[in-house]
Symmetry: C2
Subunit: 515 residues, 2 copies
C-alpha cells in the first residue's frame, strides 16, 4: 500500500487525478463538527467537585510544579506572584484560576478549505485521528516501523473519512525520515493531501517555529497573526513536571496565537495516584498550571485542557484501556473543564489489543461512547489506535472512523417534532399491521437509521458464501478501496511551490539526524 | 464440548465432584446485584416526554390494542371500563396509567440459594444471559442447531460467571428435545446446575403452569404462593397486538404472583414507526396496556416494563444493533419507565455479527454501556448473543460476561473519601516522582482497577510467542476451562428426586411433539 512519489505527483491535479476521480465510487464529504444536542454525563457530585478543586489548589500551593531547564519560565512565574524555589513553582491558592480567565472558552481553528474550519469548545466535538505510533499494522497484516508513505496514507484515509473533522498531527512516526526533518514532511502532507485542519510539531521549539512559518506560506502571514491555524499537543510530564522541550513549543505557539492542547499523559498508579479522585486532583493541578502558563506567554492564547488518563493492569503493569476507571476519570475531567470554562480534550479509539479484534473493539467502543458523553470538545486518537498507541492500524482506522458516524447521530439527540411523532403512521398501520409500506416510513426510511459502511449486515448464508469474512478483513478491503480512489483536494500551485521551496531550504540547512 | 449424561450424574455431588472441586482453579462467586451510584443518562426533554406520554394515551384511546383469541381478556377490559369492539380494546385516556399504579416499583425474585435472590427495580441492575437462539456457535467454531447439552453448558457458564446475577431462561433452544417437553428439561437444568434465579416457560399457558409447579417442588408451595420465584418474558406482538399464547402465560404467572417482563420486540421501521419518538410512543402505549392487563389479573402482581427495540438496515431490511437510534430509544424508554414507577428491562449483548469479532464487540459494547446508563433494572441477553440473536456463542458468552464486570465498577461511581483523595500520595511522590512504590499505591493497588480475565495485556513479543491469539481464541480457552472445572451447587436430594419424578410423570403424560 506504499504509494510512490510518482503516484503522488500524478495525483496532484492533472489528467490522472481527473480520471481517477471520474471512476471513483467513494464520495469525499466531511460532516459538520458535532454539536451536542444531548446532556453531558456527570459522575462527580457537587461535593466531590469542590473537594477535588480545593485539593488541586492545595497541590499547587504546597507541592507545586517543576519547570525544568527553563529560567525564563521561572522568571515569568516569579513576576506573576508565584513562589519559585529552584525549579519548583508554588502557586498561591487562586493564582492559576485567575490567570486562566483570559483563555477563550472556544475558538476557531481555520482549515485551508474554509468550509472545513472547526470551532473547538462549547457543545462541539471535533474528531481527529490517531497520534504518535512508531509502528503500523499494514494492509498485509504485518507489524513494522511506520514510514512517511504510511503517514501519507493515513492522511489520505483521514481526508476521505466523512466523520473526521481534523487531519491530526503525527498520525504515525515516519521513522524513515530524519528526526530533525520529519516535521517538514508531515506538515507538507497535511497541507497538500487534505484540506482539513491539522496540528504542528512539538519535538523542538524550532520545529514549532517551522510549523508556524509553513502555515504563513499556506494561509498568509497576516492571517496567521490574527487567527488560529494550528492546534498542537503539549504533554505534561506527570507528575507535576513541565519540561523545556514541550514548554518551548508551547511558548512558540502561544506567542503566535496558535492553540495548544495542554495535557498530562497518565497511566494511573504510575504517574498519578491509584484512585480516580486522586488522579483527577493531579490532572486538574497540572492542567491549571499549564494553561495558566500559556496565558502568561500571551493572555487570550487559545488552549484546550487535556486529560489522557488510563488504568494499569495490576498483574503486568501494562496500561489498560476502555476500563471503567478510565471512563470515570474522563467524565470527571469533563466536569472540571466545564467549570473552568475551557475546551476539553480526551478519549479516542483506545485499546490494548495487538489485533483489530473483539478486545480492540470493546475497549474502543467503551472509550468512544464515554468520550461523547463526557463532553469532550477535541478528540485526538479518534480512529486507528492499536496496541496501546504503539501501532497505527489501517484496518482499525477505517473501523473506528465508521463508528464515529454513530457518534454524530447519537449527539443529534431525539427529534420530537410532528413528523417524528409519527402519529399518522401509527393510526395508518394499526394493530397487527406492518410499517415498511406506510407513507411515513417511505418518506423517512433513507435517513432514519445510521448504518455502518464496514460491518456485514447480510444473512448468514450470503455472508458464508462470500467467504465468511470478519470485520478486520472487511476493513482491509475498505481501506484499500479508499486509498485506491483517493483524489487530492485542489491547492493553489503557487502555495505548493512556495511550500516546497521552504522545505527544500530547511532540508539543506542542517545535516540529517536520526535520534 | 457436549457433556454426556454420565458426566452430569457424576457431576452432581459425590466423589467425582469433590475431586473436581479440589483441583478447580476457578472460584465460583456471584457479585451482588449492581446498585447504581451514578446518574441516569436522559436524552428526552421534559417537553418531549410529555408529548410522547400524551400521544401514547391518544394511541390507546383512538387506535387501541388487539387481544387476540381471548374472550376472557376482552371481558376483563370491558369490566375495567375500556371500549371493546371485536378484539380491539380502546382505553380511555388515563385508564392504563391508573391500573398500573398497583404494580410494585421493585420486587424480590428469590433464588434457590437465598444469597443469590435479587431485587429488581429502583437503582438496581440485574444481569441475565442470552435468551432464545435456535443455533449455537460451539467451541469447534461451528454453527449448528442448539441441543439440550448446549443449554446445560450455558447454564453452567452462567453459574460460574461472577457478574451474572441470574440464570435466565431459554439460554438456547434445545432443539433435540420435543417442543412440548423442552420446558421440563430447561427448568430442571436451571434448578440443578445453578442456584441463581431463573425464568419460566411462556410457549403455552400449560407450560407456565408446569413452571410454577416445579418451583413449588423446589421452594415449597406456601413460599411460592407468597413470593416471586420466577421472572418470565412476555412478548407483545408489535404493533399493538397481544396474542393468546403470551397472554395465557401472563395470566398464569400474574395470578400466581410471579413476575413477567412485558415487552415489545421491535425492529424499527417494520414493527414501529421509523423514528425514535414514534417508536417510543408505540412502546409506551403497548407496555402500558400490557402492564395494566397484568394488574387486571391480579393487582400488585410484579411486572417489568420491557423494551426490546432495534434499528433496521435500509439497504437489506436486516435488523441492526448497537446503533445510535437503538440507544436513543432505550435511553428514552428508561425515562418513561421511571416516570411510570416501573422496573425497566432493556439492552443486552446485542450484535448482528456472525462471528465474535470486532463488529460483534463494537455493537455489544455500545449496547452494554447504553444499558447501564439508561437505568435498565433487568438486562436479559447480557452475554452470549450473536448474529441478531439467532446464535448463542460460547466464546461471546465469556467475552461479554467479562465486560459485565466493568459495568459493576462503572456503576459504583467515584469515591471522594479521604483515602481516595490520595493527598498524602501526591505529597509523598511530588514532581517527577513515581507512584508505583508509594504507600497509597501499595495499599490500594490490588483493587484499584478492573481488569479483564479474557483480554491479552501482555507485551507484543510475549503475545506473539504465545501464538498471537485473538480474543475469540482466548475466550474459547476460557470457556473450555470453565466447563472443565464446573462443579454443581449443592441441592437437597429430596428436592431433586421429587423434581425428577414430576418431570418423568409429565413426560409420560403426552406424546412428543416437534413443532
Amino acid at each position: 500500500m506504499q504509494d510512490t512519489s510518482a503516484d503522488r505527483r500524478r495525483g496532484r491535479g492533472g489528467g490522472g487525478a481527473a480520471r481517477r476521480a471520474a471512476r471513483s465510487a467513494t464520495a469525499v464529504e466531511t460532516a459538520a463538527v458535532i454539536t451536542r444536542n444531548i446532556p453531558d454525563f456527570e459522575v462527580l457530585t457537587e461535593e466531590a467537585l469542590e473537594i477535588i478543586e480545593w485539593n488541586a489548589e492545595t497541590v499547587l500551593e504546597e507541592v507545586g510544579v517543576n519547570f525544568v531547564n527553563n529560567p525564563a519560565a521561572l522568571q515569568r512565574w516569579r513576576d506573576a506572584g508565584a513562589d519559585v524555589s529552584g525549579e519548583r513553582v508554588r502557586l498561591p491558592r487562586g493564582l492559576a484560576r485567575k490567570l486562566i480567565q483570559t483563555a477563550p472558552g472556544s475558538f476557531v481553528q481555520h482549515a485551508r478549505n474554509p468550509e472545513k474550519s472547526v470551532t473547538i469548545g462549547g457543545r462541539n466535538l471535533v474528531l481527529a485521528p490517531v497520534y504518535g505510533p512508531p509502528f503500523v499494522r499494514d494492509l498485509t497484516g504485518g507489524r513494522r516501523y511506520a514510514t512517511i508513505d504510511d503517514f501519507r496514507n493515513f492522511v489520505k484515509l483521514g481526508h476521505m473519512s466523512k466523520w473526521l473533522h481534523h487531519s491530526g498531527g503525527t498520525v504515525c512516526e515516519p521513522t524513515d525520515v530524519p528526526v530533525n526533518k520529519r516535521h517538514l514532511d508531515m506538515i507538507e502532507a497535511h497541507v497538500t493531501l487534505t484540506d482539513k485542519p491539522f496540528m504542528g510539531a512539538v519535538t523542538e521549539p524550532s520545529r514549532a517555529r517551522d510549523s508556524v512559518e509553513m502555515c504563513e506560506i499556506v494561509f498568509g502571514k497576516d492571517f496567521v497573526a490574527d487567527n488560529c491555524v494550528l492546534t498542537s499537543l503539549i504533554n505534561i510530564n506527570s507528575p507535576l513536571t513541565f519540561d523545556d522541550t514541550m514548554m518551548g513549543a508551547l511558548e512558540v505557539y502561544a506567542a503566535a496565537g496558535q492553540a495548544c492542547i495542554i495535557s498530562p499523559f497518565i497511566v494511573g498508579g504510575a504517574m498519578a495516584p491509584v484512585s480516580v479522585a486522586g488522579t483527577l486532583t493531579q490532572v486538574l493541578a497540572e492542567t491549571m498550571a499549564g494553561v495558566a502558563y500559556s496565558q502568561l506567554i500571551r493572555p487570550g492564547a487559545p488552549v484546550i485542557m487535556g486529560a489522557f488518563v488510563t488504568s494499569i493492569d495490576m498483574n503486568s503493569g501494562a496500561p489498560t484501556f476502555g476500563t471503567p476507571e478510565a471512563s470515570q476519570v474522563t467524565y470527571g475531567a469533563g466536569q472540571l473543564a466545564r467549570r473552568l470554562g475551557l475546551p476539553f480534550r480526551s478519549a479516542g479509539s483506545f485499546c490494548g489489543s495487538k489485533l483489530p479484534d473483539a478486545q480492540a473493539a470493546y475497549e474502543t467502543a467503551n472509550t468512544l461512547n464515554m468520550g461523547l458523553l463526557s463532553g469532550v470538545n477535541f478528540m485526538l486518537h479518534a480512529c486507528g489506535w492499536l496496541e496501546g498507541g504503539l501501532v497505527a492500524s489501517y484496518e482499525k482506522f477505517v473501523m473506528d472512523a465508521d463508528q464515529l458516524g454513530a457518534l454524530h447521530r447519537m449527539a443529534a439527540g431525539v427529534d420530537s417534532g410532528e413528523a417524528a411523532q409519527a402519529m399518522d403512521a401509527i393510526r395508518e398501520v394499526g394493530p397487527g399491521g406492518h410499517y415498511l409500506g406506510c407513507a411515513h416510513t417511505q418518506e423517512h426510511f433513507k435517513t432514519a437509521f445510521w448504518r455502518s459502511e464496514v460491518f456485514d449486515y447480510k444473512p448468514y448464508e450470503t455472508w458464508s458464501e462470500e467467504g465468511a469474512r470478519d470485520t478486520a478483513t472487511l476493513a482491509q478491503i475498505r481501506a484499500r478501496r479508499l486509498l485506491d480512489t483517493y483524489v487530492p483536494p485542489a491547492i493553489d500551485p503557487a502555495i505548493s511551490e512556495a511550500l516546497g521551496a521552504y522545505i527544500a531550504g530547511k532540508r539543506a540547512s542542517e545535516p540529517d539526524a536520526f535520534s
